[in-house]
């Protein structure tokens, strides 16, 4: 009997807060379609989610969509977490959203998404923490590093607010500290390596 195995593809998770839309614009501007799925957990009020998606769509050829509960990750797409929902990832590819209590003062919480990831040797992962207030994402990024992901914090001098990436640097979760343009270049290289 032939046993089919689902290929979860490569995964990039970007956690972002205040100052994030402009930073993401820099990172994703002219980004080609990557051999990876990108999940963006951006702290936003609900009425700004669609304009934010439009903003991101203008930067890249990758398809940008708001996560639908239960859908599977597909390489080459960017998934935006809806406001007021936490996002978890089951079996490395299934996206589940749920209303929940705020974590680290926010919903969606970057920690909730990153902490839901499981180790999967078939899936190369990158976790990134960008500008923002508070410490959301630092525990999640540490978890990602512990399960083998490449982990990145935004260079503090380029942040509108430093505390989120600073927290990720302080707890040892960030393996790299990069400026937005350097993150763009890293993601292109990462994706091309996977395709080679």
């Amino acid at each position: 009997m032939i046993k089919l195995k689902f290929d979860p593809g490569n995964l990039i998770i970007i956690g972002s807060s205040t100052g994030g839309p402009i930073t993401l614009e820099s990172i994703l501007k002219n980004m080609p379609v990557l051999d990876a799925a990108i999940i963006i957990v951006q702290h936003l009020p609900s009425h700004s989610v669609i304009p934010f998606c439009e903003h991101i769509s203008e930067q890249t050829e990758m398809e940008v969509r708001i996560v639908v509960n239960g859908e599977d990750l597909k390489s080459g797409k960017i998934y935006i977490t809806p406001a007021e929902y936490h996002l978890t990832i089951k079996n490395s590819f299934k996206l589940l959203i749920n209303h929940g209590e705020k974590v680290n003062f926010v919903c969606p919480s970057i920690d909730v998404t990153m902490l839901s990831l499981e180790k999967n040797s078939q899936q190369k992962k990158v976790g990134i923490i960008l500008t923002g207030m508070g410490r959301d994402g630092s525990n999640g990024l540490l978890h990602m590093r512990q399960i083998g992901a490449i982990t990145i914090a935004q260079n503090l001098s380029t942040c509108a607010i430093k505390s989120m990436p600073s927290s990720a640097i302080s707890n040892g979760s960030a393996s790299l500290v990069l400026k937005p343009q350097e993150i763009h270049e890293f993601l292109e290289t990462f994706s091309h390596k996977q395709m080679a």
Binding site: T18, L44, P51, G134, A160, I161
Partner: protein, 126 residues
């Protein structure tokens, strides 16, 4: 129909004049408020657009003003951006992360400032 605009909230008259001039020169419609309470009255009267909010103001500071906007359910027509001399926000920002899209420190570079404000105006649909 009212036009989407930028509302500058700052107790420093010089800042209001300087920022208004920069945005007006870029063809952006501008309103000003010298206090949190005046900001709330303008939003209550139907303002929609980008709010450029100072933090340190007497009586009601920027954070308390934002909390009042949210408490009264008036946040739907506005995008909030902090425009402040404070390099780092204080802990009163905790809980408001989702409502503050950007944090711009004074002094700023005018062209980049106008580019960002213009971008955030696109977050407001007519």
């Amino acid at each position: 129909m009212k036009e989407k605009s930028v509302l500058i909230v700052d107790d420093d008259l010089h800042i209001l004049i300087a920022v208004s001039t920069i945005l007006n020169d870029a063809g952006i419609n501008v309103l000003t408020a010298e206090s949190g309470d005046e900001c709330l009255k303008i939003i209550e009267a139907g303002f929609y657009g980008v709010v450029l909010m100072d933090i340190m103001m007497p009586e009601k500071d920027g954070w308390d003003t934002i909390r009042e906007i949210i408490r009264t359910g008036k946040e739907n027509g506005v995008v909030i951006v902090m425009l402040t001399a404070k390099d780092t926000p204080d802990e009163k920002m905790e809980g408001l992360q989702e409502y503050v899209l950007d944090y711009i420190t004074k002094p700023f570079e005018a062209d980049e400032f106008v580019r960002r404000v213009s971008r955030y105006l696109k977050y407001i649909h007519d």
